[in-house]
């Protein structure tokens, strides 16, 4: 194959693979920045992927399908918030509940053979899409792909430049100080965890409504966990998370390419493993230190 075609294929695949991870990383970010661990991105994504898909099957309305997906992600997050904030269940256990529940519910209500009425189509940006290679890769994508990239910058501004973001960070770093200053810790946590769930929902919507167009059992296939890894690898920042998602997407794209190229001897599995290994290395502080929000994992006990 022509090498520029290979490059375009790999880059396009990188972007496609990274989109749900980017959104998942933002989801984790919203939860963890207010001090709630979210290992349930996977379950929220899966639920939303299913709900978006079924809405599409039943109504054929793609915009409504995306909205339903986003809301169902938010609903799962509300359950996570209720268990972990109200009942003070260990957040990892509550996340496990969501993950098992999502597998069960989506599998139980799954209808084999349901047919959708189309998926979100690529939108070509005029002029920019004519640039060789870059145009093809970046300006000829589905709407949720653009939205994911836009959200990275929006979240970055919200988190570091707005009052809302300052409150989030205060609640995640030092909830009792935030409380003293009149910030409602509990409601801040609830709202942001639900927003996080909605972002995971968007990732699910991307899978069934833009990328694949249909639903399979367990189709998230670990993307929620790799999102969690991307968030940590990106040191709990939106831009970092995005960069990590792109890197992980690239690892995936290269892995797929190697399987079919025929002249690379490194086992493709080793490249597929890279994101996880890198995350462990960063988390262990061998390369820079990833510092989580200080109050993470602890239920808030007002004094």
């Amino acid at each position: 194959m022509d090498s520029s075609l290979v490059l375009i294929a790999v880059l396009r695949s990188t972007l496609r693979q990274s989109t749900p991870i980017t959104l998942g990383a933002l989801s984790g970010l919203f939860c963890e920045r207010v001090g709630v661990i979210n290992i349930a991105i996977e379950g929220m994504m899966l639920t939303a992927a299913y709900m978006g898909y079924m809405t599409n099957v039943l109504t054929g309305n793609l915009i409504l399908s995306v909205i339903v997906a986003v809301l169902s992600g938010g609903l799962m997050a509300l359950l996570h918030a209720w268990l972990s904030i109200h009942f003070k269940v260990v957040q990892i256990i509550s996340g496990t509940v969501i993950n098992i529940l999502a597998v069960g519910l989506t599998g139980y209500f799954y209808q084999p053979g349901a047919v959708t009425k189309g998926k979100l189509q690529s939108v070509t940006v005029p002029v920019l899409s004519d640039i060789p290679i870059i145009g093809d890769v970046f300006f000829n994508n589905g709407p949720l792909t653009y939205l994911a990239v836009a959200l990275v910058f929006v979240v970055n501004v919200v988190l570091f430049r707005t009052r809302w973001g300052l409150r989030m960070r205060a609640v995640g770093e030092h909830p009792s100080a935030a409380d003293t200053l009149g910030i409602n810790v509990i409601s801040t946590r609830y709202i942001n965890v639900v927003i996080g769930g909605m972002l995971a929902g968007l990732a699910g919507a991307y899978l069934t409504l833009e990328a694949v167009g249909s639903f399979e059992r367990l189709m998230t296939n670990g993307r929620g966990f790799i999102s969690l890894a991307a968030m940590i690898f990106g040191k709990w920042t939106p831009l970092g998370g995005w960069a990590a998602a792109l890197l992980f997407g690239a690892a995936n794209a290269v892995q797929t390419q190697i399987q079919f190229s025929g002249n690379v001897t490194i086992p493709h599995q080793f490249i597929g493993m890279l994101p996880y290994v890198l995350t462990v290395i960063v988390l262990a502080g061998f390369v820079g230190r990833a510092r989580p929000p200080a109050a993470i994992g602890r239920p808030y006990e007002p004094e």
């Binding site: 509940v97 996880y276 462990v280 988390l283």
Partner: protein, 381 residues
């Protein structure tokens, strides 16, 4: 109605016994009720469904044998999580440890060593246990020396382990070499190891004519050993102390580093044995596609069993029943077997947030209860 149940519960069940069992039993009961609501939403008959499940799991000697066999990996997995919990650590890496254990056991199992069968079985078991222990021990060491939280590292090690085990038995192709442990028989197109030698298979127990391997005995022995280790040894004392009050433990001279590594290694070894007994007792080869979601199920089992070996064995049996009965349930009542996952998630939710159960059944709080301080933060402890 609620008042009546509560009176009955309080009056007729001995207090001390009830204290440990009441929440888990009510959690399971409530989850089953909610599960039947889900069934009714889709116009299924819950009684037929649960009846079919019990019939499929306990209806015949063969069914009971299958149920017990299904429970064996759950016992190991539940013990693994419960043991780590006792030391304030969260082992969410059961799945990766199970894969590493299974593939290591198969590796020794396929290697014809020309040694007596009991030794071959023992070495295969040991290999699986050690592989799991390494896969749990590394996250333990990372936690102890660098503060990298074991939840994230074990999740990452799940994926690394699963992909690595997959590579070991991959078929290669397009310029890629095949994995070192793949079945050399060219007629076998499935990516898996060769069948393990007869001498490495777990001996079958005489139980009527039903197949039943030694795994169940091993699981019970493991449960007893863990009980002894946690409650009867100085190591266990330090472990529980770390779980209950890490700073008190540190000041009284318990080595946090040593304990963290050992705890995670033992937990990993137990999960590794889950994969090992499946390989040596049931499948007779390793293929990288078994037991999805096992790590999460183990968490539910440990919590339902209140992190006590006896409780773990009982809840593993319950999960074994659900697992073994789900096929019959689907056959008899046409209920998709995934409903079991919904019920299991609800059980976990109700056990973890037992205030919900207390509220429904108007139970008073239990008062003093051992509460493990999990190292919830992502940082050093």
């Amino acid at each position: 109605m609620q008042r009546i149940t509560s009176v009955i519960l309080r009056r007729y069940i001995p207090a001390a016994f009830a204290r440990g069992l009441i929440i888990p039993i009510l959690a399971v009961f409530t989850a089953i009720v909610v599960g039947s609501i889900f069934m009714m939403i889709n116009n299924y008959d819950p009684l037929a469904a649960y009846g079919g499940m019990l019939d499929g799991a306990l209806g015949s000697k063969r069914a009971i044998a299958r149920t017990i066999l299904n429970s064996v990996p759950f016992v190991f997995g539940g013990l693994s999580v419960a043991f780590a919990f006792k030391g304030g650590l969260f082992n969410i890496g059961g799945e990766g440890q199970l894969f590493m254990g299974a593939v290591a056991a198969a590796w020794i199992g396929v290697t014809a060593l020309g040694i007596p069968p009991w030794l071959h079985v023992f070495l295969s078991l040991l290999a699986g246990c050690i592989a799991g222990a390494i896969w749990g021990g590394i996250p333990g060491a990372l936690k102890a020396f660098t503060g990298a939280h074991e939840v994230i590292t074990t999740i990452m090690f799940n994926f690394i382990g699963i992909v690595f085990a997959g590579w070991l038995v991959s078929k290669g192709g397009e310029g890629q070499k095949q994995g070192p442990l793949v079945d050399p028989d060219p007629m076998n197109i499935v990516p898996r190891t060769a069948e393990i030698a007869e001498s490495a298979r777990l001996p079958l127990l005489e139980w009527g004519r039903e197949p039943m391997h030694l795994g169940i005995i091993l699981a019970l022995v493991a449960a007893a050993l863990i009980w002894w280790l946690v409650w009867k040894t100085p190591f266990g004392f330090g472990l529980r102390m770390l779980g209950l009050n890490p700073s008190a433990a540190r000041y009284s001279g318990v080595s946090v580093v040593r304990n963290t590594v050992i705890t995670m290694a033992v937990a990993g070894g137990l999960a590794g044995l889950a994969g090992t007994v499946e390989t040596l007792g049931r499948n007779y080869y390793f293929a990288p596609n078994f037991n999805v979601g096992y790590g999460f199920d183990s968490i539910a089992i440990a919590l339902l069993g209140r992190n006590h070996p006896i409780g773990v064995v009982l809840s593993a049996l319950l999960f074994g029943v659900m697992d073994a009965g789900s096929t019959r349930m689907q056959l008899n009542a046409h209920v998709p077997s995934e409903i079991i996952k919904v019920v299991q998630a609800l059980i976990l939710a109700f056990v973890a947030a037992n205030e919900i159960i207390r509220y429904i059944y108007r139970l008073r709080a239990e008062g003093e209860e051992e509460e493990v301080v999990l190292s919830t933060g992502w940082g050093k402890r």
